[in-house]
């Protein structure tokens, strides 16, 4: 799948803009604060109906305007698909409204859009997957698995509800307001939904790890070896052990502590993901450059795994990666576009040493005007 054209109206700093894209490598060129990231955000919004900045999509409407709109025309397996998101209400009545359309037909729920276009965005916030808290890494896993599997999302939602209900019972046990037999069904619900969540994450990371290591090798310099490994809160002691049995055993083992604290101490809500280079834990000791390259490798690996599982080539959106990578890594990253149907990158300037890499690329200015690499290089 690839994006053919994008139209923005009253979206962040844009009053109106129309941009054309091509399959292959697209480079959006523009100075700082000219709206490069906003273009990637708009594409991401169409694919996922959410903004990577978090919070309500309404906040993306151009300041002082009652509504904003993003439309994109995509090519999906030879067919055209138009997605449109209107934030706010053009009549000015319901400012919190959000309207989603597929091929001109309004859809009732975001679920009808999610998954039609797969987009993978790498931007500054993405570094959290490496240096952030375990919750940031779980968020990465949930988003990656959720984009591919509605079943995973269902299990995850059931797990979260079971966890909330069970914690409430634990609190009442702590206050001696109820007796132990009311906990049983919630423990059962927790294990029943927690087991498939754990197994899905394990299988996903088993597929992601070698891809991430290989991509890291291509992006990296020298022989640094990236190791990605699942650190599940509950895992069977031996290979033949049943995960459900182990989950029950660990819950029993931690029962005193969970009643004291009023919250369940073991389960997928305590999972983490190990990231290591040559035995050094990147989460705590990685240099900025190492963390960045590892995060980029994880994102690119996510695209590879999505392709293998759903047979759909996700669109890669990479924000401002070139400036932070040294020339060799930058060139290696652009070379990866050959493996993808479409890759859209932003850059403040098109560096001279990459001129041959972007010779065949589609260069776009932030207003949609054609941009040239030469002009930018002489300016620098």
């Amino acid at each position: 799948m690839y994006l053919q054209s994008l139209t923005l109206e009253n979206f962040r700093c844009y009053e109106r803009a129309e941009l054309e894209f091509r399959p292959g490598l697209n480079v959006i060129l523009g100075p700082n604060a000219s709206g490069k990231t906003t273009l990637l955000e708009a594409i991401y919004l169409l694919a996922t109906t959410t903004t990577p900045r978090g919070g309500r999509t309404r906040t993306a409407v151009r300041h002082g305007q009652p509504w904003g709109r993003v439309s994109g025309r995509f090519a999906v397996q030879g067919r055209e698909l138009t997605l449109r998101a209107t934030l706010g209400d053009p009549s000015g009545e319901r400012s919190s409204a959000r309207t989603l359309e597929v091929d001109g037909r309004e859809v009732a729920s975001a679920r009808e859009i999610i998954g039609r276009i797969q987009a993978i965005l790498f931007w500054v916030g993405e570094l959290d997957v490496v240096k952030g808290a375990p919750a940031d890494r779980r968020r990465f896993l949930n988003a990656a698995l959720g984009q591919m599997s509605a079943r995973y999302l269902d299990d995850l939602q059931r797990y979260r509800r079971a966890l909330r209900q069970r914690n409430e019972v634990l609190k009442s046990l702590g206050r001696r307001e109820s007796d132990g037999h009311v906990l049983g069904p919630w423990t059962h619900a927790l294990v029943e939904s927690g087991v498939p969540v754990t197994l899905d994450r394990a299988a996903y990371l088993a597929a992601l790890a070698p891809e991430a290591a290989a991509l890291h090798q291509r992006l990296g310099v020298g022989a640094e070896q990236l190791v990605v490994r699942y650190e599940p809160s509950v895992e069977p002691a031996d290979a033949d052990g049943e995960l459900a049995d182990e989950f029950y055993r660990r819950l029993e083992e931690t029962h005193r502590g969970e009643v004291d604290r009023g919250s369940t101490q073991v389960g997928p809500h305590r999972d983490d993901m190990l990231l290591e280079i040559d035995g050094v834990d990147l989460r705590r000791f990685g240099s900025q450059g190492q963390q960045r390259t590892a995060a980029l490798a994880l994102k690119l690996a996510q695209a590879r795994v999505a392709l293998a599982r759903t047979e759909q080539q996700p669109i890669l959106l990479l924000d401002d990666c070139l400036s932070e990578l040294d020339p060799d890594r930058g060139a290696a990253m652009l070379d990866l576009s050959r493996d993808h149907e479409q890759m859209i990158v932003t850059s403040a300037c098109c560096p001279e040493h990459l001129a041959d890499r972007v010779a065949d690329a589609h260069l776009i200015g932030t207003g949609g005007e054609p941009a040239s690499c030469g002009g930018c290089a002489t300016e620098a």
């Binding site: 599997s149 509605a150 079943r151 269902d154 059931r158 509800r161 079971a162 909330r164 209900q165 069970r166 409430e168 019972v169 009442s172 109820s178 037999h181 009311v182 049983g184 069904p185 919630w186 059962h188 619900a189 029943e192 939904s193």
Partner: protein, 202 residues
């Protein structure tokens, strides 16, 4: 600012308290009632009053009924050895419409939800156990909804029933829509149908 005359305002406020009715719908309904004449308004008011004067809970199963014992419970042709437990009376009606079940029902009045403060004491569980002791049951069918809370409630009841003695406890199956092709069903439904697969016998 001009506001509506007292009785209209009062009617709008009352309608707004109904589930699914917002301020605009309440206003539309109020003006519809006002303009459709006194006869229809009285008929509506009488119908609303009558459900409270003439409808009560069946003293056996908890279903809504015009009599002390509801139609199902007083029907001699029903199979008194099978009891189906539902979360509320709406679910009972859904099962009755399907016409497949000929046993008795028991309405729980909800499902367990500690977050909302609903524990076993908040449901009609002691009444259920009394009936289980009274009736000579072959089977109890647990038909609470397939949500986390409905499943946990079924699990809780199943544990409770098994503790009390030998009775067959079953759970409503969930899975594929009838007549549909497998490749039309959504992922979640197919996965759950696979998990809940049943043994085939010869």
């Amino acid at each position: 600012m001009l506001s509506y005359a007292g009785p209209i305002r009062e009617l709008i406020e009352q309608l707004e308290r109904l589930p699914g009715i917002g301020p605009k719908s309440a206003q539309r309904l109020a003006f519809h009632i006002l303009s459709s004449g006194p006869a229809r308004a009285h008929a509506l008011a009488d119908a609303i009053a009558a459900v409270h004067e003439r409808i009560r809970r069946c003293e056996r199963c908890g279903n809504w009924s015009e009599h002390a014992v509801c139609e199902v419970c007083s029907d001699d042709r029903r199979d008194r050895s099978v009891l189906c437990v539902v979360a509320d009376a709406k679910d009972l009606m859904a099962l009755e419409r399907a016409g497949e079940f000929s046993g008795l029902y028991h309405v729980l009045d909800g499902v367990l939800s500690p977050v909302e403060g609903i524990g076993p004491g908040g449901l009609r569980i002691s009444e259920l156990l009394e009936r289980v002791d009274e009736l000579e049951l072959r089977e109890v069918v647990l038909a609470t909804p397939p949500t986390v809370e409905g499943d946990a409630t079924a699990q809780f009841l199943s544990d409770l029933l098994h503790e009390r003695g030998p009775v067959r406890v079953t759970r409503l199956a969930l899975g594929l829509p009838v007549g549909a092709d497998l490749d039309y069903a959504d992922q979640v439904t197919v996965a759950r149908a696979m998990r809940g697969r049943t043994e085939m016998t010869d």
